[in-house]
């Protein structure tokens, strides 16, 4: 057991014995360190002004990820290096990313700039950095960094220039030293800072997690914290007891078991994306469009499912694929189809003390096709108004099984059972065979109107997306059916 949190700052180990259960990294930086280069723009992980780079040691190298400091709990960074905008360069001695931003006039008011610089810093240190980034990569890198002044073009130009060459900065030079520090900090001890009334805990094993959670079933489990962070910063929910899952060994693996992929509970969206894209390009695209790079770097698929957030965008796709949830209490486990987990708005089939251990995502068989769509006001870093996911099993052009799931159409992500039944026997190539199935959406759902869309639009779009899926399955290329997320580009 350890009663401190240790981080790396500017090449030194900083050991903190006073860490509030929900103290954010941003408050630590600005209020405790006085490092005010990192800004607060929205305090909800959406604008990216607070972006810092978090370094961790993985597979023999130091990896930097951009993180929204405003909703990042400090304790969850144990063993990591925190790099802020002040740390990478100074006037007269700019980092290549900073120099390019100046040269291309990438800042105007300058308030989003530290966050943008740090997102680009992380991309600068990306894997496979010999290749210059594509516009898509730059867009992804910056989707979580809102700039209200420049219109982004100069920032894209700066990114292209700064990232054209392989990384060569002080952090590359210091990589082995940093890696050494990180290895030194990596221990097998459970972390527990605080007392039985209020604590930040980060158990190291499933066993100690089980024990701790059984003793404190009222504690809040936090994985990436990209949703829980807002309970703190916006709702002031008193989370006295926080159990962070990030250090639990064994929960962070992606396992390929032949006909399925198992995502451990703490697998981030970022780590899941390539595995999901390998199952189907639409699945990869749905996962890519969840949150921003910062959110995907921290946020976990398990957390997205477990907290049953009505704004969870991964469940409809996972339901359509027939994914199974693995739940554990202590060392007891049970499995249930993911759609049965979502009981009602904000209510999940999760017993006190029970936690999500993993998600089994079946791959597609040769006779199965999959389509998924996300409709939102903005393509990147938005929450869907409507999500649709369809898995069809076909026999000679005839649908023999259909799994159709929607998000944004009900209080929970939900299957369209009537639609599914009517699709059996239909032929995608013959519209008249599935028009009745499409009409049945109104029997399965009575959506609501809210700030994202009206009930009418949701219903009409749910119909349109199913029709689009069928038209595409029948052979229409997505270059003719979509303005974004085209499959041909992804596959070819």
């Amino acid at each position: 057991m350890r009663d401190t949190v240790r981080i790396i700052r500017r090449g030194r180990i900083v050991e903190l014995d006073r860490v509030g259960p929900t103290e954010t990294l941003l408050d630590y930086l600005r209020l405790r360190e006085g490092a005010v280069g990192t800004k607060e723009g929205c305090n909800e992980g959406d604008c990216g002004a607070c972006t810092v780079a978090v370094g961790s040691y993985e597979d023999g190298r130091v990896v930097y990820r951009p993180v929204n400091a405003c909703i990042q709990f400090l304790g969850a960074l144990d063993g990591k290096e925190i790099v802020t905008v002040e740390d990478i360069g100074a006037p007269g001695a700019l980092h290549p990313v900073q120099a390019a931003m100046v040269k291309h006039h990438g800042s105007q008011c300058g308030f989003c700039t530290p966050g943008i610089v740090m997102s680009l810093f992380a991309l600068y240190h990306r894997d496979g950095r010999a290749e210059p980034p594509t516009r898509r990569e730059i867009d992804d890198c910056l989707a979580g960094n809102l700039c209200r002044c420049t219109g982004y073009r100069p920032i894209v130009d700066a990114a292209r220039e700064a990232l054209a060459e392989p990384a060569a900065d002080a952090f590359v030079t210091a990589e082995s030293t940093t890696a050494g520090l990180m290895q030194f900090l990596s221990d097998r001890r459970d972390i527990f800072v605080g007392d039985d009334e209020a604590f930040f805990a980060a158990p190291r094993s499933v066993e100690s997690l089980g024990k701790l959670y059984a003793r404190h079933p009222d504690a809040t489990l936090v994985a990436g914290g990209t949703d829980v962070g807002l309970w703190v910063t916006k709702q002031f929910r008193p989370l006295g007891k926080v159990i962070h899952l990030g250090r639990v060994g064994g929960l962070d693996h992606v396992e390929d078991v032949g006909d399925a992929v198992i995502l451990g509970a703490t697998v981030s969206f970022e780590a899941a994306v390539p595995h999901m894209a390998a199952i189907d390009p639409d699945l990869g695209e749905i996962f890519r469009r969840i949150g921003s790079t910062q959110v995907r770097a921290s946020g976990t698929v398990g957390g997205n499912v477990a907290n049953g957030s009505p704004i969870g965008d991964s469940p409809p796709a996972l339901i359509a694929l027939g994914a199974t949830l693995e739940l554990m209490r202590g060392l007891e486990g049970r499995a249930l189809p993911i759609e049965d987990f979502f009981v009602d708005y904000g209510k999940q089939d999760r017993e006190p003390g029970e936690f999500v251990a993993g998600i089994l995502v079946p791959k597609l068989r040769d006779d199965q096709v999959f389509r998924a769509y996300k409709i939102s006001k903005r393509f990147d870093q938005d929450i869907s108004a409507v999500m649709a996911a369809v898995r069809l099993t076909l026999d000679g052009g005839v649908i023999t099984e259909a799994r159709v799931a929607y998000g944004g159409m009900a209080a929970t992500p939900k299957r369209a059972r009537t639609v599914e039944a009517r699709l059996v026997g239909a032929e995608p190539a013959k519209a008249q065979t599935w028009s009745a199935a499409i009409e049945a959406i109104a029997e399965d759902f009575t959506p609501l109107s809210d700030m994202r869309a009206s009930a009418h639009y949701r219903l009409e779009t749910a119909r349109a997306l199913l029709a689009k899926a069928l038209v595409e399955v029948a052979g229409a290329p997505t270059t003719r059916t979509r303005v974004t997320g085209r499959r041909e580009a992804e596959v070819a």
């Binding site: 723009g41 305090n43 209200r148 420049t150 982004y152 916006k234 393509f379």
Partner: protein, 775 residues
């Protein structure tokens, strides 16, 4: 170009002005060293404020607020309410009606009732939620239509025009009418509203405020505290974005900080959380635009009857000027032979709408473009052709408000963009694409902008600057303009460096403060550089004049043979380093400091008679945008953008291009993804970036070119440049028109009823209506 009067500097080679210098703070921005108000080292004992408000009432009366739990909360030092205001409880920039702290009556959801003052910001925010309210909620009037029905207004209706509308309309060969909704817009400056007040001696207070209008902050803080203006200093070095949102609406927070500082005797800081900023501060006015036009068979407009219903919110704020400017720009670039423009300023129980880049102009321009698009659909002519036929031109050059358009460059500018954007070829390609594709439809539009430069409130067209030359030859620059990212400080410093012939790095840019330049105007109306650049130039020339007099005498050289360049003072055939001459001047007791003052010439505006020349000149631009629309879902992607904009002779092409592109993208957000949703209870449902979507990087196409038009300001502006802050925002109307064009392709001859913003849902509403329409 027509011949213009030239001044000596037009001939003289320039070394600092016209250079694409980076923003003066660029290196500070990218290294996190630029200090915003929240980054300043707080004086010991600084307290933090959080506003308290009643989440259950958008309109009604609060009879009692139980603050017991608030006062008892950890860290709370004081709670301030309307009773604590020693002076006048009003922070309105105009005719009143904006209480700093509500006193019983609640007029919108988010109105501040009290303010918690606590040791930490977190404590203040938590405590602010603990109040118990007793009162009655009435039924709020939320929409402009509801306000129109109820007859509630913040200001009287205003109209102007010319000719006999009824007859012109009746005689027109073709007639049509339309109505569409123009959405509002949240500023979403990245730095939310913030102020810090430090109490001084004898009741003085120094207020740091993220404001575009320090003078107004000074004056209103003084009024609220009941102290003389001279007891208040308002200061700002930089804002993390303003866009009009900090023109009048930064004041309330400065007042609260100053009030708390007075009550507690300690430094006090208030920084709004993003959600509070959304619900408590005003936005761009959303409007319903009605139009009735008569036109001929060639698509030439004969009569225009335009009518705007404007949601002003609960108070007048700046709504008079904003809505007047909607009317001034309801012609955009087009000549309306017979015209009436009418504007109703409706009072709703929503936050008070305010200035936003373009100041009402964009709504007028969008309506003009909608009329052009409508005529194009009905006549079958290419929309660009219709636009060109309606441009101002010889003999067709008087605006609906009686001002002659003397500097029109649109024919040339649009012609150039039409060519460089390859408009005609792409129009053909798009037609072919749309013929082949059932689900996806493309659209293209090339739209112009003509934007009037000057405050229409004439007295605001003045500025002051203060320039000191120190004995080492370095120069201290101060003026009344504020820096919000637009690069104003850089441009004015370029002017000063040019005047003295010294390097840019010898000019020290300093924070805007009411203590150095008094009675300044807001940095708004795109006028920052025009006004403050001139004032600084005048100050420099005053100092230079004294130096020249001294040098002429000292060296026996005629004044016309003395010049300032390359860090030297050129004296006849010789030269002496600037710093050396400065030292000599000092020793000879020559004053090396001057205050410059400028007021814009030529402008007049009689609002009662609706006549005069409200604008010194017009800025022009044009944009060509191409989009693709999914007619099954309403999703839309902007695929290519070409911008060409007139900055006169640019002071700094890099900064100007930054304003053009940034303005365009901000306008694109306004017209596409940015949707403000108020529910029927008057609650703003989109109060954070999670629900309110400004453009992100991937919304901006890779095919995005911006060029400066090779023009010159025919008026004597600073180095013949043109203002650039607001006009480019309206270049984004091309995106909206391109979407309209894509939808119009579904059924030739049918006008798509597209509302702004063109969200996927709005696009589908128009698509569905097209499919149902008889065509």
């Amino acid at each position: 170009m027509s011949a213009v009067e030239t001044r000596p500097e037009d001939e003289r080679p320039l070394s600092v002005v016209r250079q694409p210098l980076p923003h003066d703070s660029a290196e500070l921005h990218v290294t996190g060293r630029a200090v915003y108000i929240d980054d300043m080292r707080e004086p010991a004992g600084t307290l933090h404020l959080a506003p308290g408000w009643c989440p259950n009432i958008a309109k009604g009366v609060i009879r009692d607020v139980d603050l017991t739990r608030v006062r008892a909360a950890p860290g709370v030092v004081a709670v301030i309410t309307a009773k604590d205001v020693p002076g006048v409880n009003d922070c309105s920039p105009s005719i009143g009606g904006d209480p700093v702290l509500a006193d019983g009556e609640i007029e919108f959801w988010g109105q501040v009732v009290f303010c918690v003052v606590a040791e930490t910001r977190d404590q203040a925010r938590r405590a602010a939620r603990l109040a118990l309210y007793e009162g009655e909620a009435g039924t709020p009037i939320v929409t402009a239509e509801a306000a129109k029905a109820a007859g509630t207004t913040v200001l009287p209706e205003y109209r102007f025009g010319r000719g006999e509308l009824g007859r012109a309309y009746g005689n027109a060969q073709r007639r049509t009418e339309g109505r569409f909704v123009i959405g509002g817009q949240e500023h979403f400056y990245l730095e939310s509203q913030i102020a810090m007040a430090i109490p001084g001696e004898a009741g003085d207070v120094h207020v740091w405020s993220s404001t575009q209008h320090p003078t107004e902050v000074q004056h209103i803080v003084a009024k609220v505290l009941g102290i003389p203006d001279a007891a208040v200093t308002a200061e700002v070095r930089r804002m993390g974005g303003g866009f009009g949102g900090k023109e009048s609406q930064a004041t309330q927070w400065a007042c609260l900080a100053a009030l708390a500082a007075k009550v507690t005797g300690r430094p006090c800081k208030i920084r709004l959380d993003r959600d509070d900023d959304f619900v408590m501060t005003g936005k761009r006015h959303d409007m319903v635009a009605d139009f009735r036009v008569g036109f001929d068979g060639e698509g030439r407009l004969l009569s225009a009857d335009m009518h705007f219903l404007s949601r002003c919110g609960y108070s007048a704020d700046l709504s008079l000027g904003v809505n007047d400017r909607t009317m001034f720009h309801a012609d955009n670039a087009y000549y309306y032979p017979t015209v009436q423009i009418r504007s109703e300023r409706l009072k709703t129980n929503t936050v008070s709408n305010t200035a936003f880049r373009g100041f009402g102009g964009p709504q007028g321009v969008l309506a003009a473009e909608r009329m052009m698009d409508t005529i194009a659909v009905l006549t079958g002519f290419d929309p660009l052709e219709v636009r060109k036929r309606n441009f101002y031109g010889p003999g067709r050059d008087v605006t609906p408000y009686g001002m002659k358009v003397e500097d029109n460059v649109l024919a040339e500018l649009v012609g150039e963009l039409e060519k460089s954007s390859d408009y005609l070829r792409r129009r053909q390609e798009i037609r072919a694409f749309n013929g082949r594709n059932r689900i996806l439809k493309r659209g293209i539009a090339l739209t112009p902008v003509k934007f009037g430069i000057s405050f229409t409130l004439i007295h605001l067209n003045q500025a002051g600057a203060l320039v000191h030359v120190y004995t080492d030859g370095s120069v201290h620059l101060n003026h009344g303009g504020t820096e919000m990212g637009q690069g104003l400080f850089t441009k004015v410093a370029q002017v000063v460096a040019e005047e003295f012939g010294i390097g840019f790095d010898r000019v020290r840019i300093t924070a805007t403060t009411t203590a150095k330049v008094p009675n300044s105007s807001p940095t708004a109306a795109s006028s920052g550089t025009d006004l403050n650049g001139m004032a600084a130039q005048i100050a420099c020339r005053e100092i230079k004049g004294r130096m020249i007099d001294f040098v002429a005498q000292e060296y026996g050289t005629p004044p016309e043979q003395i010049d300032f360049r390359d860090g030297q003072v050129i004296i006849g055939n010789g030269s002496v380093p600037f710093a050396e001459i400065v030292k000599k001047c000092y020793t000879a007791r020559v004053q090396l400091s001057s205050a410059g003052y400028y007021s814009t010439p030529k402008i007049t505006w009689n609002r009662d008679k609706a006549e005069g020349r409200p604008f010194y000149y017009f800025a022009y631009g044009a944009a060509c945008s191409e989009v693709v629309v999914d007619t099954m879902t309403g999703e839309m992607k902007v695929e290519r953008v070409d911008l060409l904009h007139d900055c006169g002779r640019s002071l700094n092409p890099a900064l100007d291009i930054g304003q053009i592109e940034g303005g365009f993208v901000q306008g694109m957000g306004w017209l596409t993804t940015e949707e403000l949703v108020f529910d029927d209870k008057g609650r703003l449902r989109t109060h954070a970036p999670s629900t309110y979507k400004i453009p992100c990087c991937s919304d901006v196409p890779d095919a995005f070119t911006t060029k400066l038009f090779d023009g010159v300001n025919r008026e004597e502006s600073i180095y013949r440049s043109k203002a650039v802050g607001e006009p480019p925002l309206m270049l984004a109307c091309s995106v909206f028109s391109a979407i309209f064009d894509a939808i119009a392709s579904l059924k030739p001859g049918v006008v798509p009823p597209l509302d702004a913003p063109a969200t996927p849902e709005a696009i589908m509403r128009a698509v569905t209506a097209m499919r149902r329409a008889e065509g």
